[in-house]
Structures are given as C-alpha cells and as structure tokens.
C-alpha cells in the first residue's frame, strides 16, 4: 500500500493534532478538599463509573485529534495506490501488457454475451482510459502463441483494432507462454512502472503448468519483481460444464456391429441425470449432412465421467465421419467429439494346418486361429482351417491371406497356385515346425523363401532358451512393439527354430539373440505382388512359448493386416487442436503438393521439403475441431487422408473450476498482485490501480462523520 500527497506542504500542520490534548491539560481543574463522613461508597461508585468515564473522555479526545488530523490530510490531498508506485507517482508513465484469455473455456455464455465478448469490451474500455504517455502491448493467452501487438505502443487505435480483430480460439489456456512473452516485452521498457493486466475466467486449469510443473519460481526469478499484476476476473463462481472427452471406435468392418464408446465428463458438483447422448454419422465426403443414427441417456455423478456404448452396422465400405453430441450447455464447443471410421471388408485368412492333431487343441493352427479372432466371430479378421490336401481344391480367390503352418512340402500344382495367388496381391505367411522339409522348401518354394533354409536348430533339445532381441525397426509389422509402451516380444522363450540364411532381396525384421533371423520379409519385385512373411519358429507352443504371451495376438494380427495391404490402424493417434502433424515421403513416392482443407472448408497447400534422405511436410494449423481432409497430389493421381481433430479436453480446459484468489496471489507472491472481480466499477478501480485514487472525497465524508460523532459524544457527556 502506498500513499502520495498532491499538497505535501500541508503535512507540516500535523503537530496541530496535539491541540485537543493541550486544551485538555490547560483546562484541567484542581480538586478541592472536602471532609466527608464515609468515603467507602464514593470509592465503590468511582470504581464502577470513573474508568468508563475516563475511557469516554479518552475516546472524545481521540475523536478531536482525529478531526484535526483528517482536516490536515484533506488539504494535503492524499492519493492511494493499491500497488506500489515508482517514480513520480501519478505523473509517471506506465508500460502495460494486456493479456486476454481466448482459450475455448472463455466461450462460456453466462448471459447474452460469452465471457470472451465481455472481456473484449472491458479491454477496449481500459485501453481508452490509458493516459497519452502510457505504452501498452496486447497478447492472447492460449496454448498457441498469439501476439497481436507484441511491442509497446502509445497508439491506442492499433491496440483497439487488434482487440476487435481477435477471436475466441479452440485452444487451451497457457499462461506460461503469454507471461514469458510479456516479461520479454517489458524487459525492453525503460518505464518505472510496469504492469501486466490479465483478463480471463481465472479457471484453475490455466494455471496448472505453473502450479504443477513448478515453473513459477523460475519464471518469477528470471524477471523483474517490480512488474505488477492485475487480474481481472470475468467469470462467475465455478460455472458448471459437461463435455465429451473421448470416443473409442472398434475397427470398422462392413455388415458387422461396430462398437462406439463415448466418454462424457461432468465438471460440476451436481449429479447429472439422463443427459442425452447422440451419434451422428455419414460418409466422410458428406460430412455436412451428418445423420443422427443413435441416441441414449447417461447419468453421471458429480466431478466424474460416464461411458456410453453404441453399436452401428455399416453397410458400405469407405471412410465415415461422425460426431458424438451431448445436449448443448453454456459452453457448447466441448459438447461434440469428432471421429472417423474407415470401413473395410473382412480379411479372410486360410490357415493351412501342416500338423493336425487328434483334437482341436492339438492342431498346429489352434493358437493362431485364436489370435486372429480372440473375442468372437465379429472381428475384422475371419479365418478358416484347411489341410494340405484341401488346399489343392480350395478356391484361393475367397481369401486375402494364406498362412502355412508347419507344412512339410507342397505339390508343384499347389505351389503354382500359391504363386498365382501371390502374384495377384495375396499375402502369404509361413510358420515353421518339425514337419518342415528344408530341402523341399529350398527347391520348390524358392520364390517365397527369403533365403536358404539350413535346418532345425539346435539339433538336440536344449534347455536354455534364446530370445528375440529388442526391436528398433520401424516396420509396420513391428509398430505395436516399439517404444516403452509397446509389447515386449523379448519376453518369449524360443527353444527351436529353422536356421535360415537370408538372401539380398529379403529383409530381416526380427532376429534371435544369436543373430539368426526369426521374421523375414521376402520382397516380391512384381508391381502388384503380394507380401510374404516367413517366421522361422512354430506358430504353436512346440518350439516356443510365444503363443502364451499377449504380444502374440498383436504380432499375428499386425502381420496379417500387413500382408493383406490394409491400412495400418496402429499408427492412428488422437489428434487435438494445437497439435502438429508430420507426413514423411520417400523420393519415389513424393507428391507434388499437399492440400489441407479444414472443417470450415478453408484450404492450405503445402509443398514437401527435403530433410536429409526424406521429404516431409509439417502442418500446425489444426486450430479448430472437426474433420480435416488431406489431399496428396501426385502426377497421375490424388490420394486422400482424413483426420478427426478434437479439443484437448485432457488439458482440463473444460473444467471451469476457478483458482482460489489467495492461491493465485501466492503463485505470484514475489510480485505485487491485485485481483479485480467487481466488473461494475471496473473502470474506476482500474484507473485507481494504475494512477492511484485521490482520497479527498472519502476524507471529507469521514470528517463529517467524525464531527457528528464528536457532537453526539460531547452532548451526552454534558447531559450526564
């Protein structure tokens, strides 16, 4: 708290405050002596009355002294500053950074206007109130750095124009970025008084990166502690909100119920009952005409989330887009979640069992059939088992993939049939076993085998298992096992395998710890040739325990999906507003240009740029939620990709719980902080914070009150 005086010379009159004391001392009378019969009762009466009387007298004396003091201060004209003031007080120019929160939570509509519209109006008012000498800059506060006026200017028109132009974003709040920029601007200013004015809903989520990441101290330490903060709180106390935070969709398979799971979050302290949840779907090229295909209701406890599952039967292949909607509330932007579903035919796999058992469980194909469809018959992969003999008569056109499991050898007619199948784009996968005739494979199937089979290793049964080494390959088949969160293939124990010497046309995807290959891909040179994978160990538990591991399912499914040339769904990740997407191209498959069309049909054309051996495009303008269309323009053709982009609900932006004012002050405890939440008197209060508040009017009122009080007390004393 700081006080300055316009007429400080009047303060020399402060000794006059002692006048009432002097008068009191001068008019004090001497007691006259009086003999009295019994003073006991006088003593008793005095004990009860005199102390109270003396207090009253003292009170009256203080009132009179206060009256003189206020009288002097009134003429000295004090100015009160809620924040510390440097330089020459009110005459001193100020550098101000206005930071406006335009994160999507500011779209909350309490009354007619959204918080953001109200904040803009207030901000414009404040800018017009600035003194001619004052300089100001204007920044926006969201996870994307936006600095409309990133320099200090005295030109109010520039500031007002930029404020008018700025819009509500779909990004989350990030105060840290805005503050860093604001401090950088202020560090160049020579003004004595520097202020940062933050206008927003003061929702707790916006300050998490300060509270939780613990960067506050570092941030404050780096910069000028004299920079003052004024927080203008636009929001009401803890507004209520609900949002659709996630949608998970099973793989889209034609004519099969596809599960769509929606997660709805209740960010309030009230239980939600029977909230309508709807699903809208249509083909992606008809995304403007989404049709409601299902509706249900969900009840959610306070500050909790609820799930709702829907099943939808797609009748045509293709790419579909859709939304999960809940009943719109005061913050409507997060009441919708976008998704896209590629719907494909089922992958039909023919499993050729080279060592059928006496029971189903003893079949060579028992584990692999389970792995292809572990839950039910409704998966995206369908399989059928055939013996080697049945393979001879089977119409292979009905299948996308053929898996040969521990097949000893094949007749020439069947081999030719397989070559034809592969030549037409069909995928073939080999698993080895004790039935394998290496010589027959080397001679008959040399076009499929990615090298030369040497024989079973180890020749004698060995107790010590060997492992598959860590996978660093970026091959599609191995993508589920890459990274710390990927499956751990190296946990499986291998006891036997067929040693293979790979040739130059093949590539080893996985190998054992002794260097021998486990999984090899044979490269077919033909244009439409199918893909071929060769596993050197068994697909059941005879030679290894891999089928008993969860990674087995992922490995088998990923291999089947790869050889069937289906899009790799494992690389699909949730994309949020503000994310950056990168697409890489080899020189052989380099598009001329890439066109990106956002949900508002605005397009951007990007040219791939070379980065060492590859070409790439980076795209960062995912600024609004919705379905984005990416068109790759090659010389002879175009290829399309669709992205569903959603709000970053996980950032907590939809949770509008406000930060406690005391906590906020504590976060910025090294700097002077004022939080203003009375919007009715904001202009006056802002000016008083900026330029101080003259107290003469208040002092005059106080003086009149004191005079009345003095009159009343003195009159009562006289009467008593």
């Amino acid at each position: 708290m700081n006080i300055n005086f316009i007429n400080p010379l009047f303060l020399f009159g402060l000794p006059l405050v002692s006048i009432p004391v002097i008068i009191h001392l001068l008019t004090k009378k001497k007691a006259r002596r009086l003999p009295f019969s019994e003073i006991k009762f006088i003593q008793l009466a005095s004990i009860k009355v005199v102390r109270r009387h003396k207090l009253k007298e003292l009170f009256l004396l203080l009132i009179r002294m206060l009256i003189v003091l206020i009288f002097i201060l009134f003429f000295a004209r004090p100015i009160f500053y809620a924040l510390p003031i440097f330089g020459q007080g009110a005459q001193e120019a100020t550098s101000i950074i206005f930071i406006l929160d335009n994160s999507y939570s500011m779209g909350y509509r309490e009354y007619e206007d959204s918080y953001f519209a109200t904040a803009k109006k207030i901000l414009k008012d404040l800018v017009t109130k600035l003194d001619k000498k004052d300089k100001a800059a204007f920044l926006l506060m969201n996870s994307k750095v936006e600095n409309p006026v990133s320099y200090l200017t005295i030109d109010k028109q520039i500031l007002l124009g930029e404020i008018e132009k700025c819009n509500l974003s779909s990004h989350s709040t990030d105060i840290y970025k805005a503050l860093t920029k604001a401090y950088a601007i202020l560090s160049d200013s020579i003004a004595s008084n520097k202020q940062i004015v933050i206008i927003g809903d003061l929702a707790l989520h916006g300050y998490r990166n300060i509270t939780e990441l613990g960067v506050s101290e570092d941030l404050i330490k780096e910069f000028d502690k004299n920079v003052k903060f004024i927080f203008i709180d636009i929001a009401k106390k803890n507004p209520l909100n609900t949002s659709v935070s996630n949608v998970v969709i099973d793989e889209g398979v034609i004519n099969q119920p596809v599960k769509i799971s929606a997660t709805v979050e209740n960010h309030s302290n009230k239980k939600l009952k029977n909230l309508p949840v709807s699903i809208y779907i249509n083909e992606v090229n008809k995304k403007q005409n989404l049709k409601r295909v299902a509706q249900s209701f969900v009840s959610i406890n306070k500050n909790a989330s609820g799930n709702k599952e829907f099943f939808y039967n797609f009748t045509k292949t293709g790419i579909y887009s859709g939304t999960v909607n809940i009943k719109p509330d005061k913050l409507s932007i997060d009441d919708k979640f976008y998704f896209k579903v590629p719907v494909e035919e089922k992958i039909n796999v023919l499993l050729v069992d080279g060592a059928p058992g006496v029971s189903f469980y003893n079949n060579e194909t028992y584990y692999i059939k389970l792995a292809l469809n572990p839950i039910s018959h409704t998966g995206s992969i369908g399989s059928r088992i055939a013996t080697i003999k049945e393979l001879e008569t089977e119409d292979l056109e009905d299948f996308s993939v053929i898996i040969l499991c521990n097949v000893k050898s094949l007749k020439t007619r069947v081999v030719n049939k397989l070559y034809q199948f592969s030549g037409n784009g069909g995928g073939v996968i080999f698993f080895c076993g004790d039935n394998i005739d290496s010589k027959a494979y080397n001679s008959q199937l040399n076009r499929f085998i990615p090298g030369k089979l040497i024989g079973i290793k180890p020749e004698k049964n060995s107790i010590a298992p060997i492992k598959v080494t860590d996978t660093e390959s970026v091959h599609t088949v191995l993508r589920p096992f890459v990274g710390p969160k990927g499956g751990k293939l190296e946990k499986a124990n291998f006891y036997k395998y067929v040693a293979l010497k790979p040739d130059l046309k093949s590539s080893v995807l996985l190998k054992f710890s002794n260097g021998d290959p486990y999984l090899i891909e044979q490269k077919i040179q033909t244009k439409n040739g199918g893909r071929i994978l060769f596993f050197t160990s068994s697909c059941d538990k005879d030679w290894n325990n891999l089928p008993a591991k969860p990674v087995y399912v992922a490995l088998v499914q990923q291999a089947v999906r790869y050889v069937s040339k289906r899009p790799d769904i494992s690389k699909e990740k949730k994309i949020f507003v503000g994310s950056k997407i990168r697409r890489e191209f080899s020189s052989t498959k380099l598009p001329d240009s890439v066109k990106i069309i956002n949900p508002e049909e605005k397009s951007v054309v990007v040219k791939p740029v070379q980065d060492k051996d590859i070409y790439k495009i980076d795209f960062e303008q995912l600024d609004i939620p919705g379905i984005y269309e990416i068109i790759y323009n090659y010389k002879n053709k175009t290829q399309k990709e669709y992205l569903s982009v959603n709000l970053d609900i996980a950032s907590g932006e939809s949770n509008l719980t406000k930060i406690d004012h005391k906590k906020l002050k504590k976060l910025f405890s090294q700097s002077p902080v004022v939080i203003v939440d009375d919007l009715d008197n904001l202009d006056e209060e802002f000016l008083s914070l900026l330029k101080g508040k003259e107290l003469s009017k208040s002092l005059l009122l106080f003086l009149v009150s004191l005079l009345m009080l003095e009159g009343y007390v003195a009159n009562r004393r006289r009467k008593s």
Binding site: K29, L34, F36, S37, A45, S46, H53, S720
Partner: protein, 300 residues
C-alpha cells in the same frame, strides 16, 4: 411567643438548635408534639383510676367497686393506670462521622435532640430511661432510672458530647449487651456506617435477649444527594483516608449504592423484628417520637 403557636417550629431541628439548653429543647419537642395530638398518648395502668368494666369469673375481688354495686346492684371491676416498669436504653453513636452536617446541624446534634426528647417523654410517663454513648468504645453509660432528677443527668451528658473516634458498632453493641441485664426497650441512634451484617448480628442479640429494639438511622441530606460539583478530594472524617472523584459523574451510582445500603438495613431489621426508622436530619423530630410511641403502645 409566636413559636409556641406553631407546633412544627418546636420540632424543627434548626429551631431547636437555637435554644439554649437541652432541657428546654426536650420540653419544647415533647410538649409541642403532645399539644398536636387529639388524645393523650399515655396509656397503661397506674394508681390513677382509669375506667370500669363488668366483672368476670377469675377477677380478683379486691378490685370490685362496691359503691357501684350498691348503686346499681351489678359487679364492676375498677381499672387503674399502671405504674410503668419499662426500662428504656438510649444508645447514641458519637463517632467522628456523626459530626458531619451541612444544614447547620450535625447528625450528632440531631441525635442528641432526639435522645433528649425521648428521655423527657419516657420519664414523663413514669418509664425509666438510661443513656449510652460510644464511638470506638463506650464513652458513657448511664443506667436507667425513673425519677425526674435523672433527666438532668442524661441531658447534662448530652450537652457535653462531642464527635470523635472511629465507629465500631458491632463490638460496642456486644459490650452494651453486658450492661443491659433486664429486658426493655433499646433505642439505637446512629448513621450505621459500619459493616451491615455485623451490625445486624449485634442488634439481633438484643432481640434474642427479649428486648424491643428501635433503630434510628440518621443521615445528612448531603450524604444522600452528594450535591457537590467539579473535582473534589474527599477526606474520610474517621479514617482520614482520601479519594479524588467527580461527584457529577458518580452521583447516580453513589445514590444507588447508598440506597442499597439503606435497603439492606431496612430489610434485615424487618426480618429480625427490629423497628427501623430512617431519619434525614432535615426532617422534624415528631417522626421519631411517633415511632417511639407506636412501639410503646404495642408494649402496653
């Protein structure tokens, strides 16, 4: 004399103070007081004939009036005014605080007039009367006598009395209890500035000894009203202690405390069967005489 025409003048303490001797004062008071009554205040038996009443079984035959029987052939008993045998003990507080007075007469002077008047009145109706004065100790004790000459002894003592010493009422009353062996009427005249509980306890002792007790509580008007202003250094007349106070401020509280003090004596006396008579020294003495006569009548 004009004063004789107006009985109130005889009873006014200020007028009495101007008279030369205590005897004169006593006579003025009593005669003036009696003159204002419609009938004689003296009752009881004496050698003097009073009235006849019809004989009833059990009456002594010696009181039969044979002359009336001779005239009317009916039996009547002759009744006489009784010779008194009431012993009155007047106990007067003569401590320093009794010397306080603001209207030309101190509480002690007023007490003396009251004592002398009562003594005169009692002796006149054949009662015996004694006098005790005290402060911190018993100053004087004159045993009760019924002869006329005894009055001069009492009045002489009252003429010479001066206020001095601290009050110690409770102890003094206990000492006086030793002197009063035959039961009678104890008249206690004081400002009662002592511990009330102890004083009441001592007075109850007299009641325990079958005495009748009348307490005359004397206070000066200034003691009741505290009519001073400005800053005053009060000096206690007995203990010589001092206190500075502003009477204007404490007056209401003082009066409340004093009223509680008086009320306490009044209630305690009432509970103990003691007649309590509050006397402002500006009040005429007839109130005191009236109280005495009422008690005397009750005693028969």
């Amino acid at each position: 004399m004009e004063k004789k025409d107006n009985k109130q003048n005889y009873l006014d303490p200020l007028v009495l103070a101007k008279l030369s001797s205590m005897l004169l004062r006593a006579r003025f008071v009593v005669e003036g007081f009696i003159a204002g009554l419609h009938q004689s205040p003296f009752r009881g038996f004496s050698l003097e004939f009073a009235q006849h009443r019809p004989y009833s079984v059990g009456d002594e035959l010696k009181y039969l009036d044979w002359k009336v029987y001779a005239r009317s052939d009916r039996f009547y008993i002759r009744q006489y005014r009784e010779e008194t045998n009431l012993k009155g003990y007047i106990i007067l507080d003569a401590s320093a605080s009794m010397g306080y007075g603001t209207r030309g007469i101190s509480k002690l002077q007023y007490g003396c007039y009251l004592a002398s008047s009562l003594a005169y009145l009692m002796l006149r109706q054949q009662d015996s009367v004694g006098l005790g004065t005290f402060s911190s100790k018993i100053n004087t004790y004159i045993p009760p006598r019924a002869n006329r000459g005894h009055l001069s002894v009492i009045l002489e003592e009252l003429e010479q009395i001066t206020p001095q010493g601290e009050t110690d009422i409770s102890n003094i009353l206990q000492d006086l209890g030793q002197h009063i062996k035959k039961r009678g009427l104890v008249i206690f005249i004081s400002d009662l500035f002592d511990d009330a509980d102890r004083v009441i306890k001592a007075l109850k002792y007299f009641r325990y000894r079958k005495n009748e007790v009348i307490v005359f509580h004397l206070l000066d008007p200034a003691e009741m009203e505290l009519p001073f202003s400005d800053l005053v250094l009060f000096e206690d007349m007995e203990k010589k202690t001092e206190i500075i106070s502003q009477p204007d401020i404490i007056r209401s509280q003082y009066k409340k405390i004093l009223a509680d003090f008086i009320e306490k004596y009044k209630l305690s006396c009432q509970e103990s069967g003691i007649d309590y008579c509050f006397m402002d020294t500006s009040v005429p003495l007839d109130k005191a005489l009236g109280a005495y006569l009422a008690k005397r009548e009750m005693l028969g």
